[in-house]
């Protein structure tokens, strides 16, 4: 079974519903799939949309190193779930037992390097936990998640 992904100027994206039962959160987000990121993140705008008070979350226990600039990183520790639509109109669920990180880019800005709004990301942890393959055929402008 496959889930067709969206190709945008930012990259390969998946629309998924994020739920966090402990906080009674149900929100649908557009996530960028980022194989360069070891962890998955909610951008602060998406977290704010869900009513999460990002500044009140504990800081991430691990420091973050990134090529795209500095970021403040918090940790939503409550177990959460991502629900993804597959081609036969079924919903597959991935559990995030340790919750998800939430980040806000630093406010530094120069002429050519724009530190813009945050983008929610699904990293390699998501690909591992889901057990799904990421298939990208960019010459044909196609990308999928494929479940076994």
């Amino acid at each position: 079974m496959r889930s067709r992904l969206v190709l945008s100027e930012r990259g390969i994206e998946v629309v998924a519903q994020f739920t966090c039962p402990a906080r009674r959160i149900t929100q649908t987000y557009n996530f960028l799939i980022d194989t360069g990121s070891s962890a998955s993140y909610l951008g602060w705008e998406d977290a704010t949309k869900a009513g999460i008070k990002v500044e009140e979350l504990p800081s991430s226990s691990k420091p973050i190193f990134g090529f795209g600039g500095a970021a403040d990183v918090k940790h939503l520790k409550d177990p959460s779930f991502l629900h993804v639509r597959f081609e036969d109109n079924t919903l597959e669920t991935v559990e995030l037992p340790d919750g998800i990180l939430v980040y806000r880019p630093s406010r530094r800005k120069t002429t050519h390097w724009q530190s813009g709004p945050s983008v929610s990301l699904l990293g390699r942890d998501f690909l591992r936990m889901s057990g799904w393959k990421l298939i990208a055929n960019l010459p044909r402008e196609e990308a999928y998640l494929e479940s076994p």
């Binding site: 149900t26 090529f67 990301l121």
Partner: protein, 82 residues
Amino acid sequence: MMVNPSEALEAINRERVNQEWINKSLPSLRRKFGDRYIAVRARKVIDSDKDFEKLLARVRKLSDSGSVTIEYVTALEYLWLL
């Protein structure tokens, strides 16, 4: 809290339609709304603001706020580095 699959699928489809429309319409959206957040419902920009939280507060007052996608549109086309 159980997820209702049909509601979740509907919400995912709505968001996807909005996102695909935004991606396809980026050149014209950049001209009209560059460096602003836009609120999109059913392939139409219904509001915009430079301030995310001000726009979110207005969107939350809508009865169907769950069907609105908020996205930032850059005025310039950037190369992306994560």
